[in-house]
């Protein structure tokens, strides 16, 4: 927390859970002037058919969570407000989530939400209401490297809880205004602190699923959302082919599948088959054996550099290609992005650092999935990250 000073006003993004509540409690105890904000992101009255069996308490932006956050604010005695970001959340997170699935990709809405909503729109609101910094309950660390003059993003001390993977999109400006007070703590210590601070949420259970799809059934959510928007959901159905080109079945929609998936294919072939590739244009699902899922290279787009300003030559890094993935050693190589105009490449493009890289893993990786993030680590520090093509 090297960038916290006592004179600042700090906004704490509060979900009503134990992590962000503990952040608020800790900062408040340290004497910081804090304001709690809870983002109302999704109206749970929309798509009511999705509510299903999910208990109300686990639904997104449930009143219970707001109530919990408010109780923490009252308990500690700091100002607290709920802010409506439904419009921004839908535009920046929900719609791209649906479009990505329809395009045969497997998106990570949490990373998108961090970059485009939490550390963007919410940070603007925080500054508008007089705060200079935003603190969240993420498990990660941020620090200033005085040698490089860069703000760096580091893995959390608690490796099991580390969320730096979801934060790779933060810009220098955003990192400079961000506090992750839990980065040095383990989950157990956070619970302990919450109890010590007598926070009313100290014993609250964890939530795991994507917040606006509490049931975890993405396909059902996408169908319901498309129906609400008046677009057809059935148009993504198509054939299932093997890698040899043999048609072996049909599927109900590409958005129901992700690379590496085995379940739900409905194939009666002898050997287990996995989704190897999704071809959104022809709405084809290509399946193969487990061994066909391994690749040693892929391209990554829209890279955000963190510990470096740009990449001009290949570097070594450990690369994480999904949240629960043991980072794998690889070469990260800059790929020149073709200028849109073609010929006139006389130094103009050199001024714009490339935001595309090619990864060459030392060992092939299973199920490199388009739409997921690839985050490059050098030790504990995040070099950068982007979206797998």
């Amino acid at each position: 927390m090297s960038n916290a000073t006592s004179t600042d006003t700090i906004v704490v993004a509060m979900s009503g859970g134990v992590d962000s509540s503990t952040v608020a409690g800790l900062l408040h105890r340290q004497g910081a002037r804090i304001i709690g904000l809870t983002m109302q992101l999704w109206n749970q009255r929309r798509l009511p058919e999705l509510a299903g069996d999910a208990p109300v308490a686990h639904r997104c932006c449930s009143l219970d969570d707001v109530y919990d956050a408010r109780r923490v604010a009252e308990h500690c005695g700091f100002p607290y407000y709920v802010v409506n970001f439904e419009r921004q959340f839908e535009a920046a997170v929900v719609r791209p989530f649906v479009e990505n699935y329809l395009a045969g990709r497997t998106p990570i809405p949490c990373a998108q939400c961090n970059t485009a909503v939490k550390f963007d729109e919410l940070l603007v609101t925080a500054r508008q209401i007089g705060a200079e910094r935003l603190a969240t309950g993420h498990y990660a660390r941020v620090s200033r490297n005085d040698a490089t003059c860069r703000w760096e993003l580091w893995r959390a001390r608690d490796a099991a809880k580390d969320q730096s993977y979801f934060l790779f999109g933060l810009t220098q400006e955003q990192l400079a205004r961000t506090l992750f007070p839990l980065g040095e703590l383990t989950k157990a210590e956070v619970r302990e602190t919450a109890r010590e601070l007598r926070l009313p949420v100290a014993e609250k259970p964890e939530s795991q699923e994507i917040c606006f799809v509490p049931s975890g059934d993405y396909a059902q959510f996408i169908s319901a959302y498309l129906e609400e928007q008046g677009s057809a959901a059935g148009e993504t159905s198509g054939e299932i082919l093997t890698t040899e080109g043999e048609v072996v079945g049909a599927h109900a929609g590409v958005h129901q599948f992700t690379v590496g998936q085995r379940r739900g294919l409905g194939l009666s072939t002898g050997q287990p088959k996995y989704v190897v590739r999704i071809e959104p244009e022809s709405r084809r699902l290509v399946v193969g054996d487990d061994c066909e899922l391994f690749r040693d290279t892929c391209e990554v787009d829209e890279v955000n550099w963190i510990s470096v300003e740009r990449l001009d030559a290949p570097v070594r890094a450990e690369v994480k290609i999904r949240h629960r993935h043991e980072p794998a050693p690889a070469w990260v190589e800059p790929v020149p992005e073709r200028p849109a105009t073609g010929e006139e490449n006389d130094g103009m493009s050199a001024a714009l650092p490339s935001r595309r890289v090619r990864l060459r893993f030392d060992a092939p990786q299973r199920a490199i999935t388009p739409g997921q993030a690839a985050v490059f680590y050098q030790g504990e520090s995040v070099l950068g990250g982007g979206w797998i093509r």
Binding site: V82, V83, T125, R127, Q128, G130
Partner: protein, 391 residues
């Protein structure tokens, strides 16, 4: 400085006199107004005195006043009471696009039960045209419900004219007068209404109590069933304490109506004038229409009203924007949308509503703090850069 409260349309602090009048009825005078004994009789006396006070405030007879739990219940009792009592196979209701949710959502519930509803639009100044109401009439129309003044804009609706249209058509006419009772003179005969809702906590009475004026001879089905309280219109042991508070507040409101109104109007006009002069692009919504004396609604383009309300609250100035949802977040205002504001302007609008306790000093504070906060928000707003750069 003490935080400044400019959100009286949302609720008002209780008049000390109302509080004092209520106190004996919490403990010493705890009789049930329906009981035969002396304890009950004293409670009954207090309830009936309050009924007279409320009747006087709106120019009705005491027997025409039904006590309820507040404005929302009064609106529901009027709307469901009339519509569900009607035996007609096809039923139609006329209302406006700018009603309070207590009316709008009641109408939507009726629609789900097969009742047809016309939501009459309003002008850009937030006023309904009586001719539109007349045009919306159908043979099967059973109720017209139009608010007396809008809660967000303060704009006063042409109730008396609509009352004449309703009378000619022999259709029941309800008005939600929650924002005008105690602020504007009300005479139910002149307005030509059959039903009129009011709420105690908007006129310096306690929360949780209100009243519905029901013209003598009006047939309506109760919402609740139980004892024979309130002439069979609203069963349940009377909230004696609350009713006493409402009665006393109604007396005070009637006595102070002209003075409070003039004072509020002068302060409101100054606030409005100064803010429009000091904040670039600021403009008043509904300012050309007749309005309640205490309300102003101002658009501050290029800001998010929600952030503005929070920033002002942190500086000790309480006002409001849009309608708070159950979580406390702000939902876009259907009223500002109905007067034709684009969504971004609707979100950039604030309501300041003044009350009996508002002082000139408080208005000075608002005038001094709002322009700077708006400017700060605009400096950090990505959308403000464009018009500024384009100039």
């Amino acid at each position: 400085m003490k935080p400044v409260y400019l959100d009286y349309n949302s609720t008002t602090p209780m008049a000390p006199e109302a509080l004092e009048a209520m106190l004996p009825y919490f403990a010493q005078e705890a009789g049930n107004a329906s009981s035969i004994h002396s304890f009950g009789q004293r409670a009954r006396g207090a309830v009936e005195r309050a009924r007279e006070a409320v009747a006087t405030l709106v120019g009705a007879r005491p027997a025409e006043i039904v006590f309820t739990s507040g404005g929302t219940e009064s609106d529901n009792l009027a709307i469901f009471g009339i519509v569900t009592h009607s035996p007609a196979p096809r039923k139609h209701v006329i209302t406006t696009q700018i009603e309070h949710h207590a009316v709008l959502n009641s109408c939507q519930a009726l629609e789900r039960d097969g009742v047809e509803v016309t939501y009459v639009p309003v002008s850009t100044e937030g006023v309904v045209d009586p001719a539109d109401v007349r045009r919306a009439l159908r043979p099967e129309t059973v109720l017209i419900t139009v608010m007396h003044a809008n809660n967000e804009l303060g704009t006063v609706q042409p109730i008396a004219e609509i009352g004449r249209i309703a009378a000619e058509a022999n259709v029941y006419f309800h008005t939600d007068a929650v924002q005008t009772a105690g602020k504007l003179p009300i005479a139910v005969e002149e307005l030509g209404v059959d039903l009129l809702s009011l709420s105690a906590h908007k006129l310096r009475g306690p929360k949780g109590v209100g009243a519905l004026y029901v013209r003598k001879g009006t047939r309506l089905r109760p919402l609740f069933f139980g004892g024979h309280h309130e002439r069979d219109r609203r069963p349940g042991t009377e909230n004696v304490t609350g009713i006493v508070g409402l009665g006393r507040a109604a007396e005070l409101a009637a006595a102070n109506l002209a003075t409070d109104g003039n004072r509020a109007a002068a302060l409101r006009d100054r606030l409005e004038r100064e803010l429009v002069a000091r904040v670039p692009y600021a403009r008043v919504n509904g300012g050309q229409a007749p309005r309640t004396p205490n309300t102003t609604n101002i658009t501050f383009p290029f800001v998010e009203g929600e952030a503005l309300v929070i920033a002002l609250d942190l500086k000790g100035l309480a006002c409001s924007t849009g309608a708070a949802c159950s979580a406390g977040a702000v939902e876009p205002s259907h009223v500002l949308t109905a007067i034709g504001l684009p969504p971004e302007d609707a979100r950039a609008s604030l309501r300041f509503s003044l009350g009996h306790e508002t002082t000139g000093e408080e208005i000075n504070y608002a005038i001094s703090v709002v322009p700077g906060v708006v400017e700060h928000l605009r400096e950090l707003s990505p959308v403000y850069q464009k018009p500024a750069a384009a100039k």
